[in-house]
């Protein structure tokens, strides 16, 4: 595609913009620290999150080594408890959310033809809050009790059930690090969510009606709205916890009439929608990539939008499916069974529409597409195990067993991480101007696929065989050993794949192929500007007439706006 024929802003820009900012290392660094450019902040978010992916992945490896064999002594019980708490907390708060908000930061303004986010400075502030929260959380390894003990990271699980978190049972500062770090990064998240809502609502270019917004942007709008009412309850509950711990309050103090169950409700009122906060952007990524690599418009765009909003809505009313075993009465349990299963319907609609997009297309198996296809089938399985968990009586068996761990890694890794990788392969050329190596990409994909299935397919079995989660060791006679050993091997295969990925990024940054503005022959506005885009994105404010503005330009004989 010759850019020059595209009457959309950016095409006129010929100066590769980073050239203009040569300087000393310190100036370069300073530039990144003070930046308010949504693209740079997006890159910062993604880099930050990838770093923590390695850290939390390393923690996962330690967990897996410890569990590889019965009665193993690789780490102490105390350290094990810290490892899974930090692994879960990091993966959710410092990997999942920042990376997806990072993509949103980079992509949303470009996709809607805006020059930046609605509030660039708030954007920078939010990022630094998140970053500070992350560092504070990890400082607990060093700080904690003070420097006397070898440091105390939180050790109560990512859902931190009270009253284990109260002063009486968690002395020291581990819980304080957990609560304060997450309150701070929560403010950052809130700021970004507000920013994304304002951006999508108020910054769209001319002609970009809501029903013409690319699906990724749509999903980010839904996610951000969902975040507003999701992250705040967690903040509220954590404030209560801190009131208990420092001011002698009794919210969760069961000795003084407080309730442990109330914490569970508050946490899962946050925790359940939270997993959709992670899932929906991943859906958005799939909704961008699958059409482009099938060479077809997305099937059923209005249904996709409606289903996304529906998922966001219904997900607010299902939280107690994490609490089927706390002794709720029959009708309440039945209600949450029904509401939980209902989420399967809009999710099914999405899966079917993606599949229908494939049908009749000409599928191009580039790396982004491979990861998306992996996501598609894995998410199907993960969703179905979710439905099994939603059958409350069966959940009384499966709850807090490795079956649940298998379910959620199937969604979080098999669904979300796969799509995160897809997104990086897809948008890396836009952000850097260089292609990632396809050969290394395929190695990465196939190894990660293999490792993923070794680990997480296997994991369902010990769950059914009665293996609870959060245990640092188990007896040999239970018959869980073999499965755990296979899982550990799988984790290491995943680690090799991740190392290849890191290598791919480094090597491609140095000598990757030039990407050009539109390497995938795609249809949304971000591909109309050079790679990397100039700091003002568009020279002229673009005007769009359909959901696929670049398709209209590339196919003037058959533009989309005729059909909409």
């Amino acid at each position: 595609m010759a850019d020059q024929t595209l009457p959309i802003g950016g095409a006129l820009d010929v100066t590769p913009h980073d050239e203009a900012q040569k300087g000393t290392f310190l100036e370069w660094l300073h530039g990144w620290v003070i930046t308010v450019d949504h693209k740079r902040l997006g890159i910062l978010y993604v880099t930050f999150a990838l770093f923590f992916l390695l850290v939390a992945g390393l923690e996962a490896l330690a967990i897996r080594v410890q569990l590889a064999m019965p009665n193993n002594h690789f780490v102490s019980p105390e350290l094990y408890n810290r490892l899974f708490t930090m692994h879960g907390t990091t993966m959710i708060f410092l990997v999942g959310m920042p990376i997806l908000f990072g993509f949103a930061n980079y992509i949303v303004p470009l996709q809607i033809g805006a020059r930046d986010m609605a509030f660039p400075r708030l954007n920078a502030f939010s990022f630094w809050l998140t970053a500070f929260g992350g560092l504070l959380l990890y400082w607990s390894f060093v700080g904690g009790f003070g420097l006397f003990g070898a440091g105390t990271a939180p050790d109560v699980g990512w859902f931190a059930y009270a009253p284990l978190t109260e002063r009486a049972f968690s002395i020291g500062h581990a819980m304080d690090y957990w609560a304060v770090a997450l309150i701070i990064s929560g403010w950052g998240t809130l700021g970004t969510a507000i920013n994304i809502v304002a951006t999508t609502v108020s910054m769209r270019c001319k002609g970009m009606t809501l029903m013409r917004m690319p699906l990724f942007t749509w999903l980010m709008l839904v996610v951000s709205a969902l975040t507003l009412v999701t992250i705040t309850p967690l903040t509220a509950a954590q404030i209560m916890l801190m009131i208990d711990r420092y001011l002698g309050g009794h919210f969760f103090d069961t000795q003084a009439g407080g309730s442990a169950v109330v914490w569970m409700h508050f946490f899962w009122i946050f925790g359940h929608p939270e997993v959709y906060v992670l899932a929906l952007p991943a859906f958005g990524i799939a909704s961008e990539i699958i059409p482009v690599f099938s060479r077809k418009a997305i099937f059923g765009y209005p249904a996709m939008v409606a289903a996304s909003a529906g998922i966001g809505f219904v997900s607010l009313g299902v939280w107690a499916h994490h609490m089927f075993t706390v002794g709720m009465n029959g009708p309440t349990t039945a209600f949450f069974v029904l509401s939980t299963m209902l989420v399967g319907i809009p999710t099914g609609i999405k899966i079917f529409n993606w599949t229908a997009t494939l049908i009749g297309g000409k599928i191009w198996f580039a790396t982004p597409m491979l990861f998306c296809l992996g996501f598609l089938i894995q998410f199907l399985i993960a969703g179905l195990t979710g439905i099994m968990l939603a059958c409350a009586p069966w959940d009384w068996q499966l709850h807090n067993s490795y079956f649940v761990v298998a379910h959620f890694h199937y969604v979080l890794v098999g669904g979300i991480v796969f799509n995160i990788f897809a997104a990086i392969y897809y948008w890396f050329p836009k952000a850097t101007g260089k292609m990632l190596s396809e050969t290394l990409g395929k190695w990465h994909f196939w190894l990660f696929l293999l490792g993923f299935h070794l680990t997480f397919d296997t994991m369902h079995i010990p769950g059914i065989l009665g293996m609870p989660r959060h245990i640092y060791t188990y007896e040999a006679d239970r018959g869980w050993g073999v499965y755990n050993f296979i899982e550990t091997i799988g984790a290491f295969v995943q680690a090799i794949a991740v190392l290849i990925f890191v290598y791919n990024i480094v090597i491609s940054l140095m000598k990757g192929q030039d990407a050009g503005s539109d390497p995938w022959d795609a249809w949304t506005l971000e591909w109309a500007v050079p790679s990397p885009p100039p700091s003002y994105n568009f020279v002229v404010d673009p005007v769009v007439n359909s959901r696929r503005p670049l398709w209209d330009l590339k196919h003037p004989e058959d533009p989309d706006w005729k059909y909409e």
Binding site: P77, E78, N81, Y161, P163, L164, F169, T254, G257, S259, A260, R295, K296, A297, F299, G300, A303, T325, V326, G327, N329, T333, A334, V337, L338, M341, G344, I345, G348, I349, T355, A356, G360, K362, I363, L373, L380, I381, L384, I387, M388, A390, C391, P393, W394, D395, W396, Q397, H399, N400, I464, L465, G466, M467, H470, I471, R478, G479, H555, D560
Partner: protein
């Protein structure tokens, strides 16, 4: 008695676990069916519509959607959801509202950081970590109702072959029931993270024949054995902090923080299933509880080697 070496929720030996297994198979069949259909469609699409070598570079026909199809794949899942929901709901009520026969045995289980206190209020028995219940037969149905409490944090009571799990929550009373149909020893364990030694908060249920159960009850109702031969050990126990945390009925030891030791020697395991109960392990346990269970709430008492031998010998007589 056969010790089941596994904790397989798919080989149930008691009433609610049986029904749950049935639901599991039903749900697996339905979701399996969905999987086969949808996955087949995906594989078909990916293989059939891959870009061929001889592709001419033209774009395929653009199809934007179809309302009829959208309706179809909304309605069919709705029907499936309704079916799954009704089946689950039926079982929820069947288990939660099961009629409670007069003959039922009532016990109370209290979760502690990291062990289980077990009380038989009607029988005046207090023990720990190993629950004895009678088997239930058609002729003589004998369900056991278990009241669940917690002394500190949230625990969860789970013996997969007998029933699903139920949490033991402080300041909140829960109840569950089992009706085992086969004798044997069934293992379970705490399944809600409760602190450092959550992993070793194991649990055993002994399903006895009525005769065995009666004998066990008789024996547990006795006060502690007084054997003059181990008076030295008894002295050690009573003159150390042991007595502040442990109860031995019939003696001045009335502590409630740790397990009741009145009949400790009649139990097969120590420290909530961490190790088998034999004199060597018992001695090692008292010398340094952290050896078997790092992070346990019983401190090492720094007894001399001789005192250790004596107290071990004493506890070993408490059948």
């Amino acid at each position: 008695q056969t010790i089941t070496t596994n904790t397989d929720s798919f080989s149930p030996a008691s009433k609610p676990a049986h029904e749950i297994f049935g639901l599991a198979i039903f749900a697996l069949a339905i979701t399996g069916g969905i999987f086969v259909v949808v996955a087949a469609a995906m594989f078909y699409a990916v293989i059939r519509y891959r870009r061929r070598k001889d592709d001419d570079g033209s774009e395929p026909p653009q199809i934007f959607g179809s309302v009829q199809i959208e309706i179809a794949w909304t309605v069919i899942p709705i029907i499936i959801v309704v079916v799954l929901f009704l089946t689950s709901a039926r079982l929820i009520f069947a288990i939660k509202d099961a009629p409670r026969p007069k003959s039922a045995l009532n016990i109370t289980v209290v979760g502690h950081q990291f062990w289980w206190e077990i009380r038989y209020p009607g029988l005046g028995i207090i023990t720990a970590n190993e629950i004895h219940v009678p088997v239930s037969t058609k002729a003589d149905p004998q369900p056991t109702y278990i009241k669940l409490l917690s002394a500190d944090v949230v625990h969860s009571f789970w013996v997969p072959q007998l029933a699903g799990k139920t949490d033991a929550i402080p300041n909140h009373v829960n109840e569950t029931w089992i009706e085992p149909t086969h004798t044997g020893i069934y293992k379970g364990q705490c399944s809600q993270f409760c602190g450092a030694e959550h992993a070793k908060m194991l649990l055993r249920v002994y399903v006895d024949t009525p005769a065995q159960f009666e004998a066990w009850v008789k024996q547990q109702q006795q006060p502690a054995v007084e054997d003059p031969a181990v008076a030295a050990g008894r002295e050690v126990f009573m003159h150390n902090a042991c007595m502040n945390c442990h109860e031995i009925r019939g003696t001045e030891a009335t502590g409630r923080f740790g397990p009741d030791l009145t009949h400790v020697a009649s139990r097969d395991t120590l420290a909530s299933g961490s190790v088998m109960n034999n004199p060597a392990n018992l001695r090692q346990w008292i010398e340094n509880p952290d050896y078997f269970k790092p992070g346990v709430l019983m401190p090492a008492m720094h007894l001399s080697s001789q005192q250790l031998d004596q107290v071990t010998a004493y506890l070993d007589t408490l059948h």
